[in-house]
Symmetry: C2
Subunit: 322 residues, 2 copies
């Protein structure tokens, strides 16, 4: 891209300390990097499109956070340590008022996780961005979706449901007078990738996934890849007091927790014999974790409230409607 | 992306033989790969947006070729051996008539270069795609833009100018009756990434770049990064007989060769003492290479026709107009 778009490339340069494993970042045909000899590389790619994953008029700082955090969350779900990111940014026009807060937040978050921008492209077109993050995992270990066994306990990090409530508010302005509406809107964009939890789980958990499509949908990825079923105690689902105030009803909040997408919390399974070890290891991370159920034989999928079956008709999480 | 977009993910799966260094490709939160211990990784990211880099109604097979070939060309310009690619594809709707030829050509080209698709995302939105390719280079070697020295010879691969003529035809249908118009249109999309040439140049060339913005513009990248100037003999510029027929005039064809972008040929510099070695090494690749000039001290930039100065007002290469 000639002309004004050169500015963007310059805007993206020299915002970070160089990692020692990055030998060349921007300014040539390729970046050149080197992974340590004893690791494998975990890689994830995500695209965010205006109108599909965020509104065009969304706070650009929040969009930057969401874009990078959602990608880092995929690394977290593998237990990987983040290293490098490439950013392909498509913009309708060169708009410094948009770019400045976007880049500030992007680099703040990248630096926090010691992730270096090693490549990118800036093009003119409808607003969207594609990020590819890479991180390291020790050889012969990884948190896969395929390792859950019958009897394993099912855990989630953090609190669930806020993201869906925030999306409600974003899509229907009349909801903005509901309790904590603006706080929930912000939480829709500002998630914390559970990198440290993923690393702590690496030697212990049998399976893990990050919650991007909703707890039920993402847990089903574990179940189908592992060939097992599950039983979930909805009374254990963790949600925030703000979500409860917003929903006004505990069971509505629980349904939000089950279906809310783009949470970027982790859902993971732990063999019974490892449960105490995992809880001790996670206590050091300062992240709340909650046991919400147990793995059952294939074909079983039950929701219950302290043993009493519940029969909720749950709808999926559809990002923004087209 | 729920529902129909799952189809796309399935469409992209199982189209390739697994590389031994890919431990996990699609289907989990991340791909897991391992680079050989004695290499560095070269990485490049490019976005192609409908309306900016190709027309929405362009042949999807050609678009796939252009997207992957232009990325591989960046690896070629570093002398890297391609290994992995991730593809983030944004589509307005699930259109099998578009996807089938796109994917067929994408995997045909990927398999030819032994590149495995290891990640991706499919989203709904305005048609665009972002690819990130990665390849290997031996430690302590790379074809950078910064190594050209005064006296080095300047070479280009292949023939130049066809891509710009093809773009003329794409943008102005009234030109479709000119000689070889449809052949030149196809050549705009179908370039050959010069992977083998890049590898052969790795021990010998002092600098290299791939021609995406036009020979003059890309050569200037070498000159500015190397702190040198250049003298180009326009009488040596290689162009096709089809371009000459299309242009109807040798000097017009030469001007096309100087400014045509998205050629994906290589421009590289070779120390005088290495010239014979390089020409011998490249003879084995079967790729035409032409010496078009010589590196001069910084500040010098001259175009001449066998010693007679030419003063052409050259315009840059602007992809598609917005």
């Amino acid at each position: 891209m000639p002309g004004e778009f050169d500015f963007i490339q310059r805007y993206l340069s020299n915002r970070q300390v160089n990692r020692k494993d990055v030998h060349l970042s921007l300014g040539d045909d390729c970046a050149i990097v080197k992974a340590p000899d004893n690791v494998r590389i975990a890689l994830s790619t995500d695209t965010l499109v205006a109108g599909t994953h965020f509104l065009s008029n969304a706070n650009p700082a929040w969009v930057a956070h969401k874009a990078l955090a959602s990608n880092l969350s995929d690394l977290a779900a593998m237990g990987a340590t983040p290293a490098w990111v490439s950013l392909a940014l498509t913009l309708p026009e060169m708009d410094e008022a948009w770019l400045a807060p976007f880049c500030d937040t992007f680099f703040e978050l990248a630096n926090y996780y010691h992730v270096q921008l090693i490549g990118g492209d800036t093009t003119r077109g409808p607003l969207s961005m594609t990020l590819t993050v890479q991180g390291f995992i020790p050889e012969n270990t990884a948190l896969l979706r395929s390792g859950a066994k019958v009897g394993d306990w099912i855990f989630v990090t953090g609190e669930l449901g806020d993201s869906k409530a925030g999306l409600d508010v974003i899509l229907d302005n009349s909801l903005s007078t509901k309790p904590f509406a603006s706080e929930l809107e912000k939480r829709h964009y500002i998630a914390t990738p559970r990198i440290v939890v993923g690393q702590a789980l690496l030697p212990h958990a049998s399976a893990a996934v990050d919650i991007s499509d909703g707890l039920i949908a993402d847990l089903r990825h574990i179940l189908s890849r592992s060939g097992v079923g599950a039983s979930i105690d909805v009374s254990q689902l963790p949600f925030s007091p703000e979500l409860l105030a917003y929903c006004g009803d505990e069971n509505v909040a629980r349904q939000y927790a089950l279906t809310s997408g783009e949470e970027y919390e982790l859902c993971f399974t732990v063999p019974a014999a490892q449960r105490k070890t995992v809880e001790n290891a996670l206590a050091h991370t300062g992240t709340k974790v909650t046991c919400i159920g147990q793995i059952r034989p294939q074909g079983v999928f039950e929701l219950h409230d302290k043993g009493r079956a519940v029969d909720w008709q749950l709808t999926g999480y559809d990002h923004f409607k087209a």
